[in-house]
């Protein structure tokens, strides 16, 4: 396969996301211009200009895009025109953001910073005053004794949230009451990414402790563990085959202190059930920060510290490949 290289960011990619049909690919980077691309031919549709800091996260429903930034704000954009609809300032850097499946609610998490504690903010979008006034219907503070939130996603039927913490804890919160329903600490280091399976019955977590783990989304039972020998920055589940792809590599900060060969920046495919590695794809020359399968499972993209997004269409050999057991 010949990957398509998307070079719209001048600095490291922080997050990439497909939209629901998979025709659009959103990318956010440490420069200030989140971008949107046509995923099939790599054509850039546009950039969302307005942030003045690192953009940590990007999410979409089909008409709106939300980005959260280190400039202590998040912005809701019109997906089609790139215009700012709302800009809301927060007390600390916004680390993760996401529209609920129904598009009726918005999830924002903030960092622990300048004396403020890490928080989960939930906005109802049916009531425009909540966004306009920046006043969420639910604010879940994470007290300072607990580790700050690194990533968060919506759970099944928008009823709860799955939250990853800096100390490796994964917890589940009720989206209406804010009550903590379940909590497990299976990882030893920070959770870097969470990806829900297509039917929302399970999710995969990526962690700096060099593993990715599969959990039951209802009660956070640990199902599977995928081991590597480098920090995992991102993991994604395929909707087509029983595959999980892990992207990672040593911390960008350590890269200059070790041999280039030791970087291990390839994307690694594991079998979901057997936890065994199936194959690897090379290409990035920095750690992979975010990786996602196309919703149809026939291609995948990865965004790296090197500032490139690579869009890979799988060869026929990938579809023919059967795991031997």
């Amino acid at each position: 396969m010949r990957p398509i290289l998307l070079h719209g960011h001048e600095r490291a990619i922080t997050q990439i996301r497909y939209n629901r049909e998979g025709d659009l690919l959103f990318s956010a980077g440490k420069d200030h211009s989140p971008s949107v691309w046509y995923s099939d031919n790599g054509e850039r549709l546009g950039t969302y200009d307005g942030h003045s800091g690192v953009v940590w996260c990007i999410n979409r429903d089909s008409t709106k895009v939300v980005t959260g930034s280190g400039d202590n704000s998040y912005i809701i954009w019109d997906c089609e025109t790139g215009k700012q609809l709302h800009r809301i300032d927060t007390r600390a850097a916004v680390r993760s953001c996401g529209f609920s499946y129904s598009g009726r609610a918005l999830l924002i998490t903030t960092d622990q910073q300048r004396g403020y504690e890490s928080e989960i903010l939930l906005f109802g979008l049916d009531d425009p005053t909540q966004i306009n006034d920046g006043e969420p219907y639910l604010r879940i503070p994470i007290s300072k004794d607990n580790a700050k939130i690194t990533t968060a996603v919506w759970g099944k039927l928008d009823r709860y949230l799955i939250v990853g913490h800096e100390n490796g804890e994964v917890s589940q919160f009720d989206a209406t009451t804010g009550e903590k329903l379940h909590s497990v600490t299976e990882h030893r280091k920070a959770i870097s990414d969470i990806n829900m399976y297509k039917d929302q019955s399970m999710f995969v977590t990526a962690s700096k402790d060099s593993t990715a783990k599969l959990f039951d989304a209802d009660d956070l039972t640990l199902l599977k563990t995928y081991k590597t020998e480098r920090p995992v920055n991102s993991a994604a589940l395929s909707s087509l085959k029983d595959h999980v792809v892990l992207g990672g590599g040593q911390e960008a900060i350590d890269v200059t202190t070790t041999a280039a060969q030791a970087g291990k920046f390839d994307a690694r495919f594991y079998h979901v059930v057997f936890e065994e590695e199936i194959g690897r794809v090379k290409g990035h020359f920095g750690p992979i920060n975010s990786v996602r399968f196309h919703p149809d499972g026939k291609s995948y993209s990865s965004g790296g510290e090197d500032g490139y997004v690579r869009v890979h269409q799988f060869d026929q050999s990938y579809f023919d490949f059967e795991f031997e057991y």
């Binding site: 396969m1 031919n41 790599g42 054509e43 950039t47 039927l157 399976y197």
Partner: protein, 296 residues
């Protein structure tokens, strides 16, 4: 590609904009994509000063577009970076495909932000085609085939399967140890670590290499289409193979029509020669013989 093969479930289709996609799967739109398949950056360094001046006159000339019959579109544009002028040749495959209507609608959106000025199709400044890469499968197939080939070895010869040169090895070892002890004892000269204590790991590996060489079979008059996998298939029936080396042209990677097969046992190699020399394989008669040791 329809709305249902998505990462989430739709709780409220009335509100959910993707509900539209679910309902409209029957209604499809047609989109035309320009799929980038190759980038060629060519430095126009041969142009003389005069030519360059001439070229500068028609700077405004729009990119040359050529569309071939097989749906391949070639765009040649000139790009100047500093004093250097590049001729960029980009190849696209034009692809038509049926997609859900909302996708087709989105394909018609106007570009915005930093892409406002970009023409239709992927822009050369942001979209490039990377080097060919592949998903390197990691399987335990190799181990399996080894086991299979073990099972394939005829039963009556199984007794000799173990280290046919064990005796030779033992002799060599004792000789080495004698040498080592004499060196150590008599004039206590410096002894290379590998020679101490009767030759350790290094000595063994050297022996191994030598033995490998002796068990090598040279196959020639091969068909050009035969690859390593074919050879493995063909030769593994006669015993355990440790290496298959098909000689290929350095540049074109095409087979040079001969190959070397290393067996773990010399008997197996001999058996293979006896069975396969003159064997008709892919309309050619194979020449299978002992490999001559490298002349040096």
């Amino acid at each position: 590609m329809d709305g249902r093969t998505t990462d989430d479930l739709c709780a409220t289709p009335t509100w959910c904009p993707s509900g539209k996609a679910i309902r409209s799967t029957a209604i499809q739109g047609l989109i035309q994509n320009e799929m980038p398949i190759m980038d060629n950056d060519m430095v126009d360094s041969n142009a003389t000063w005069g030519e360059r001046m001439e070229n500068e006159d028609d700077e405004s000339s729009s990119p040359k577009v050529e569309i071939l019959d097989n749906g391949i579109k070639i765009v040649e544009e000139e790009r100047t970076e500093g004093n250097r002028k590049f001729l960029v040749k980009r190849t696209f495959r034009i692809e038509n495909k049926r997609v859900p209507k909302p996708v087709a609608e989105r394909k018609a959106w106007k570009k915005f932000g930093a892409s406002t000025e970009d023409p239709k199709g992927p822009s050369s400044s942001t979209t490039k085609v990377a080097e060919d890469t592949f998903l390197a499968f990691i399987t335990n197939r190799e181990d399996n085939s080894d086991e299979k080939s073990l099972n394939n070895i005829p039963k009556e010869r199984f007794g000799t399967y173990k280290a046919p040169f064990a005796a030779n090895k033992e002799n060599a070892r004792s000789e080495l140890s004698r040498m080592a002890s004499s060196q150590l004892g008599v004039d206590s000269k410096y002894v290379v670590p590998s020679r101490r204590f009767g030759g350790s790991q290094l000595g063994d590996t050297l022996e191994l290499y030598k033995r490998d060489d002796q068990n090598t079979v040279r196959v020639s008059n091969l068909s050009e289409d035969a690859d390593e996998a074919d050879l493995t298939d063909l030769f593994r029936h006669f015993g355990q193979i440790s290496r298959v080396f098909l000689v290929r042209d350095k540049k074109t990677r095409r087979s040079k029509c001969f190959a070397f097969i290393n067996y773990k046992n010399r008997e197996d190699a001999a058996y293979a020669i006896s069975q396969l020399n003159g064997f008709a394989y892919d309309h050619l008669l194979l020449d299978v013989e002992w490999a001559k040791p490298p002349s040096n």
